[in-house]
């Protein structure tokens, strides 16, 4: 009962600011509304007992990504202080497409027999995540870090070329 109530409250916390993100006429407000959305998702992670992922969610998404988005908006000329329209004349088409997608997703969710994994959740997931990342998932982990490194170098090259 309590878990269900928490789920609905967290869903509201996630969804209401998400609506603000896509409808607000002020782009900085849109970016700031991302923060409560991320916190709602963090709450859902905690509800699923994934406390390490929840901590990372706050640190990376709410603390870093949002700040980067804000940073970019504020450094862009004319990015702040103007009223923008987030929608154009294709609203009905977009609404139709998303309604169809939502219906499809709900239909799939209802029909899929969700498998219950064997065994219990480990008491302390952070250590498990670390062990998995550096043993059976080591290739994926290294390739991901390589991709990040390449994008880092790419960003520097693009930024430097302007001189």
């Amino acid at each position: 009962m309590g878990t269900l109530a928490a789920f609905f409250i967290l869903s509201a916390v996630t969804l209401i600011p998400a609506v603000v993100v896509v409808t607000s006429k002020n782009i900085v407000r849109s970016a700031l509304a991302l923060v409560p959305t991320f916190f709602g998702i963090t709450g859902l992670y905690i509800l699923l007992r994934a406390e390490f992922v929840a901590g990372i969610q706050v640190l990376i998404y709410a603390g870093a990504i949002t700040v980067l988005i804000l940073f970019v908006i504020m450094l862009t000329e004319g990015g702040t202080g103007i009223r923008i329209r987030q929608v154009n004349e294709q609203v009905p088409v977009g609404a139709l497409a998303s309604a169809v997608l939502a219906a499809l997703l709900i239909w799939v969710f209802l029909r899929t027999p969700w498998p219950q994994g064997p065994g219990a959740l480990p008491e302390y997931t952070a250590a498990q995540i670390g062990t998995t990342l550096l043993s059976s998932m080591v290739l994926v982990f290294e390739v991901t870090s390589l991709v990040l490194l390449i994008s880092l170098i790419g960003a520097i090259i693009i930024a430097r070329r302007e001189r």
Binding site: E51, F52, F71, T80, A126
Partner: protein, 325 residues
């Protein structure tokens, strides 16, 4: 689980923590700052209100409480009025995982989270949002400049801070703050000895993270008026200050927990030891503030990216090698 009791407990803990911090960190901290500053600069500091000026900050707080809230006409009112709350809340949340000591076998900590130091880092990173929002919504170029400086500074210094936390977590084998204190056995067991580079990196990054001199570019009085604080008045201004001092004291408490053995120490009770060590770190930060001049922005960022970050990475490698083999 009894939800009503849990929520009541959370509210009580929050109120207790808030009062404690408002008194110990903000009021007493500001007084300490001014007294130490006076002492270092050979002047007396606050002297007139109460015995030896002890009640000066109380008088200042009462004055600030009575001030009018001014919202500039060009400001984005909703964001402008929310930003101080974000900073204050983020400053206070970090205290949830700080273990103050032991009392008859139980550890005095609001919640011993098993992701303790990760939670702490996450909450420290939330301050930037409040500062950016406050600086932008003021609609004032000095505020915006201060906010942007603060964002670039705090995002950069979060990385070495995280590196130091990782090194300590590796040494202790846990992310829980209570576990880290327990892992520091004996007098020489404090991580300041085994993790000295991490200690230096953490202290420098923590000073930068709480925007203190020599890293106080976001609010540099002489060039930016007061940075993101320019347009704030009355209690909203003091909420920013409360958040800032709460975070500074939280960083000092975290340094105590991670490197100085937390509440451990001979003879004296654990609580006394904890506060002794914490105030020692606070004193050190204030000493630095009144001694060093301010960095330039490029010096600040190159110190982070070219010195602290590589040093942190190399230290993690060395620690890992030592722990594994």
């Amino acid at each position: 689980m009894n939800w009503g009791a849990e929520i009541a407990k959370a509210v009580l803990a929050a109120v207790g923590m808030f009062t404690f911090l408002a008194i110990v960190a903000a009021m007493f901290g500001v007084l300490l700052e001014r007294k130490i500053g006076g002492w270092i600069q050979s002047r007396l500091g606050p002297k007139h209100v109460g015995p030896q000026g002890l009640l000066q900050t109380l008088a200042d707080t009462l004055k600030l409480l009575q001030k009018e809230h001014i919202t500039p006409r060009a400001a984005d009112a909703v964001v402008f009025n929310t930003a101080p709350l974000v900073v204050a809340t983020a400053g206070l949340m970090g205290w949830l995982v700080i273990p103050f000591g032991t009392l008859g076998g139980t550890v005095l900590v609001v919640r011993d989270l098993n992701i303790g130091i990760l939670f702490f880092a996450a909450m420290a990173s939330m301050t930037v949002i409040g500062i950016l929002a406050g600086g932008w919504s003021s609609n004032n170029k000095y505020s915006l400049l201060g906010a942007l400086r603060s964002a670039s500074q705090m995002i950069s210094y979060e990385l070495p801070l995280g590196m130091a936390l990782v090194a300590v977590a590796m040494e202790a084998g846990t992310l829980s703050t209570v576990g880290i204190v327990r892992a520091q056995d004996g007098w020489m067991g404090s991580f300041i000895f085994r993790q000295f580079p991490a200690f230096v990196i953490f202290l420098v990054a923590a000073t930068a993270e709480v925007n203190r001199v020599p890293f106080d570019l976001p609010e540099a009085e002489s060039e930016l008026v007061a940075g993101y604080l320019s347009e704030y008045s009355g209690m909203r201004f003091s909420l920013f200050m409360l958040g800032e001092y709460a975070e500074m004291f939280a960083m000092a408490a975290m340094t105590t927990t991670l490197f100085l053995g937390g509440w451990k120490g001979p003879l004296l009770p654990p609580l006394v030891w904890f506060f002794l060590k914490m105030y020692l770190v606070v004193f050190f930060m204030m000493w630095v503030r009144w001694t060093f001049p301010r960095f330039r922005l490029d010096q600040l960022l190159s110190l982070c990216w070219k010195v602290l970050l590589p040093a942190g990475l190399i230290w993690i490698l060395i620690s890992g090698y030592r722990i594994t083999f």
